[in-house]
């Protein structure tokens, strides 16, 4: 009787030992499996469909945005992203732009890279997009809202300042009569450029801004507006203008009136025609931005935001360059003025 009791006690103990041992083994296996799973997870890239990014610009016709698209496409192919590049035909048409944003929301894109026509009128719809988890990245021209996660743009105020400084540096600067041809816009960047320019000129004080007009952002209207402007203010010897189309408009006006030597023109952005005008003298200086970088970085940062990379740089100022007839064919100017993409 007593013997069996003793045995069963020892047996219990043995059972206990066995259970603890088994538990240990189970734990070990579990640990290793977890380790493997962790490894697996780290390596696996998103199998669940590609990332979709929509690039919506002010227009699709300008050279500037074409290069933006080409930069965006390069980044998209590098990061394996499905990319759509769209914009209204007319650079004033924010309604159309809002439609494109709605369409992007419907398409359930992961990020919208936008260059806003109007800094206020697209805010609502972009906020709606943001609520649906779409990342908002601004290039070139921003909006009045804090939903923007990243900005890639030219320092527009600084661009205006550089235009002014380019003038100030010249020998016969004193007493110049300056005219400003800007375009009708509520876009952030154009306003920034003009105030940067004005502030610098006024601070220097040796030259005066005689007059300014606003024209529509297309070549014909800009040209007609410029002609009127030249006629209204015959004393003007310097014209400054702040976008691709108005630059061409002013250039054509100068060509028509044959005032290449009389009026100095400083424009903004570049295309084949404005570069030709720079060569032939209608235009004397161009501020050139880096649209390729904007497009590329816009999409790259969208990718990083989607991947929740915490090291994303969210405010990027892209380079600008002041091009004149003299430095037009320097290697650096060639590289930034003439995009390679279209040769292919």
């Amino acid at each position: 009787m007593k013997m069996t009791h003793g045995h069963s006690k020892a047996g219990e103990k043995r059972m206990k030992n066995r259970i603890t041992n088994l538990l240990c083994i189970c734990l070990l296996i579990l640990l290793s499996v977890l380790m493997l799973v962790a490894c697996e997870n780290k390596n696996s890239s998103d199998a669940s469909g590609k990332i979709r990014v929509a690039v919506i610009t002010k227009t699709t016709t300008s050279k500037f945005f074409m290069i933006v698209f080409s930069g965006a496409e390069t980044a998209a192919s590098e990061y394996n992203i499905i990319l759509t590049c769209e914009g209204p035909d007319n650079e004033n048409d924010y309604g159309k732009q809002n439609e494109l944003i709605s369409k992007a929301i419907e398409d359930k894109v992961d990020a919208i890279v936008i260059s806003a026509i109007d800094k206020d009128n697209s805010t609502k719809i972009l906020e709606k997009a943001q609520k649906k988890g779409i990342h908002i990245i601004v290039i070139d021209s921003g909006i009045n809202s804090d939903i923007v996660e990243a900005r890639i743009e030219t320092d527009n105020y600084d661009a205006g300042r550089k235009m002014a400084l380019a003038l100030i540096k010249e020998e016969n600067y004193e007493g110049r009569k300056i005219g400003i041809v800007n375009f009708n816009s509520d876009s952030e960047n154009v306003l920034g450029r003009e105030s940067g320019f004005k502030d610098t000129i006024e601070m220097d004080g040796r030259a005066e801004i005689v007059g300014r007009i606003n024209v529509d952002s297309n070549v014909t209207k800009a040209k007609n507006g410029s002609l009127d402007f030249i006629d209204t203010y015959p004393e003007i010897d310097t014209i400054v203008t702040f976008n691709e189309w108005t630059t061409l408009g002013v250039g054509y006006a100068i060509e028509e009136r044959d005032l290449q030597d009389e009026i100095k023109v400083i424009g903004f952005d570049n295309n084949v025609i404005s570069v030709a005008m720079l060569e032939s003298g209608e235009i004397d200086g161009l501020i050139v931005q880096n649209p390729y970088a904007m497009g590329y970085l816009g999409v790259e940062i969208a990718y990083q935001l989607i991947k929740e990379n915490t090291l994303v740089e969210t405010d990027i100022i892209t380079d600008i360059m002041y091009i004149t007839r003299d430095n037009l064919y320097e290697q650096a100017s060639q590289e930034i003025l003439f995009p390679l993409e279209e040769d292919k």
């Binding site: 030992n17 083994i25 380790m35 030709a276 292919k344």
Partner: protein, 585 residues
């Protein structure tokens, strides 16, 4: 007989079983060996992966060199043929026609230009494009390059001789003579064929090749736009400073090789992340899986084997523990044939030892019993002659006094007394018999003491069925008479009581004699009494204790001049139990 328990307590928690010990050690070593060997393997693997990646990059650069040379050679050849052909033409129209045709039919040629020594354009192949009237700086006119006569290709530049056309080209030219005039024959070539070549050469997934010139400037890069717009920067100082053909950096491997023009170099870049680190990751994953399996298998194996070893040991140790607890009831095991030799030997020896010890214990027990019986008998007989003499003396005295009736009664009592004393020679008798014995004794003694005392028997509870030691009360009554009643004055009283208690029977013999001191009462039980009467009490106490254990026996309560009570405590044992011997202590 009892085996004494040892006072020490076992501290089992700090002990480790053999199987646990073995499992732990073996797992530890397995893991240690696995970790060491896999880290050695990994470092070897990484090294060789590095070697392979470097070699791979080098080979791809060589391939790229071959391809680019093929391209430049074909351009060179084209220019040579052109140079030869053009020298043969005699009219301007022929020359113009020839270069137009050539430019049109070749997809790589952007245009063919013939400059005079001053850089004025003499001929140019063009379809619809208009040549600018006033070219301030013609980027295609590079006389220093042409004068080298080694058909060197210029770095990419914009072709700026046509209106509204700015194409990236690279220029190749040679001085020659047409129609008796010294001119430069110049070919502008599109750069994208060469870029496409480079683009198609990939090292790994993201690796690439690019071309630098003797000034360590980038000439062609598959990501030319990124380079031009400043989004991508190559560490040209690092590459320029390379003394060997290859260079290993933290994240990348560079390899470079000169083209046969002796001025351009092709640089290959591959990324260790994708070439090596990913492979390493794969290898680590595999290793981990293998390590896991090895560990699991080794755990299982050691578990099984250690159990095989430890099981008999544990059984042996359990058996030993068992033996330690209940030595006399331990039954040796017989299953020691299986298992490990040493352990089975140990086990057999243990069993042998156990049997020996049990034999010895048994023998000691037996011997002790016999010894005790002899002792008891000796003690019992000790009383008898003395008492017998006194009684017979009394009877003789009675006979002399003609008290034959009394003498008859006394003889009767004595006979009964002896009858009980000699009954079967058993140690235990029924309580009734014992009381009878005591009564007979008192009858005899009351004659002797001439009724100087009275006595009384009482019993409480159902005590008749139990047994008690033979001649247990008589020595105590004798003691009461001799030491209590005999020396006192007045009438003595002796009361004998039997009481059934929960687990025992309690006898008490009290007198109203002179009593004794504490020292005396202790002495009585301790044998230190030299007095012949004292032997009786000690004898009773010893017999009870030997027979039933330490918790039974005599106790004395006494007060001087008031009297003494002696208690006897014995267990409850029925006749049946006694006869079947099942009343073990």
């Amino acid at each position: 007989m009892k085996i004494k328990k040892h006072g020490r307590k076992r501290i089992r928690r700090h002990r480790v079983t053999i199987s646990k010990y073995m499992v732990t050690i073996i797992i530890f070593f397995v893991i240690l060996i696995l970790v060491i060997s896999s880290s050695v393997f990994m470092s070897l693997f990484r090294n060789s992966a590095y070697e392979t990646a470097t070699l791979n990059t080098e080979q791809i650069v060589s391939q790229a060199v071959g391809m680019v040379e093929l391209y430049t050679d074909s351009m060179k050849k084209e220019l040579e043929i052109m140079e030869k052909q053009i020298g043969d033409y005699e009219t301007k129209e022929d020359i113009s026609q020839y270069i137009n045709l050539l430019a049109k039919t070749s997809s790589t040629i952007s245009c063919i230009i013939i400059y005079d020594k001053e850089g004025e354009i003499r001929y140019v192949s063009s379809e619809d494009e208009r040549i600018k009237t006033d070219i301030k700086l013609d980027l295609s006119f590079q006389p220093e390059l042409f004068e080298k006569r080694n058909y060197e290709i210029s770095i990419p530049h914009i072709e700026n001789i046509f209106e509204y056309s700015y194409t990236w080209v690279t220029t190749l030219g040679v001085p020659t003579k047409i129609l008796g005039e010294d001119v430069y024959l110049v070919m502008d070539m599109h750069i994208y064929p060469l870029l496409n070549y480079l683009d198609n050469i990939s090292v790994g997934q993201h690796g690439y090749c690019f071309i630098i010139n003797e000034k360590n400037e980038i000439v062609y890069h598959p990501q030319q736009e990124l380079i031009y717009t400043g989004l991508k920067v190559e560490d040209l100082d690092l590459i320029g400073g390379m003394e060997q053909k290859t260079l290993r950096e933290k994240n990348s491997i560079y390899a470079k090789e000169y083209l046969n023009n002796g001025e351009w170099q092709i640089v290959g870049v591959s990324f260790t992340e994708e070439l090596i680190n990913e492979q390493t990751k794969e290898a680590i994953k595999l290793l981990l899986i293998n390590m896991l399996w090895c560990t699991v298998v080794s755990i299982i194996i050691t578990f099984v084997f250690s159990r095989r070893i430890s099981k008999p040991v544990r059984e042996l140790s359990d058996a030993m523990r068992m033996f330690e607890k209940h030595a006399d009831k331990y039954i040796p095991r017989d299953d020691t044939k299986l298992g490990i030799y040493e352990i089975s030997v140990l086990s057999e020896s243990f069993d042998h030892m156990v049997r020996k010890i049990q034999e010895l214990v048994e023998r000691v027990k037996m011997e002790e019993k016999t010894l005790r019986k002899a002792e008891l008998r000796a003690l019992q007989t000790q009383i008898n002659p003395h008492f017998l003499y006194n009684t017979l003396d009394s009877i003789q005295w009675m006979c002399e006094q003609d008290k034959s009736k009394d003498a008859g009664e006394m003889v009767n009592a004595l006979a009964k007394l002896f009858r009980i004393s000699i009954s079967k020679g058993n140690e235990l008798i029924s309580i009734n018999n014992e009381l009878e014995h005591a009564k007979n004794y008192l009858v005899i003694q009351s004659y002797r003491y001439q009724d100087r005392f009275t006595y009384k028997f009482t019993s409480k509870g159902n005590v008749e069925k139990y047994m008690c030691n033979k001649i247990m009360l008589q020595p105590i009554i004798e003691n009461a008479l001799l030491h209590g009643i005999d020396v006192m004055e007045g009438e003595g009283k002796i009361e004998i009581q039997v009481k059934e208690e929960a687990n025992s029977i309690l006898f008490s013999v009290s007198d109203n004699g002179i009593g004794m001191t504490k020292e005396q009462s202790v002495k009585i039980l301790k044998h230190d009494m030299s007095d012949k009467f004292g032997i009786g009490i000690k004898n009773v106490n010893d017999r009870i204790k030997i027979y039933f254990g330490q918790e039974y026996g005599l106790s004395i309560k006494s007060e001087l001049d008031k009297g003494t009570t002696i208690y006897i405590k014995i267990p409850k044992i029925t006749l049946e139990q006694y006869e079947n011997d099942t009343w073990a202590q």
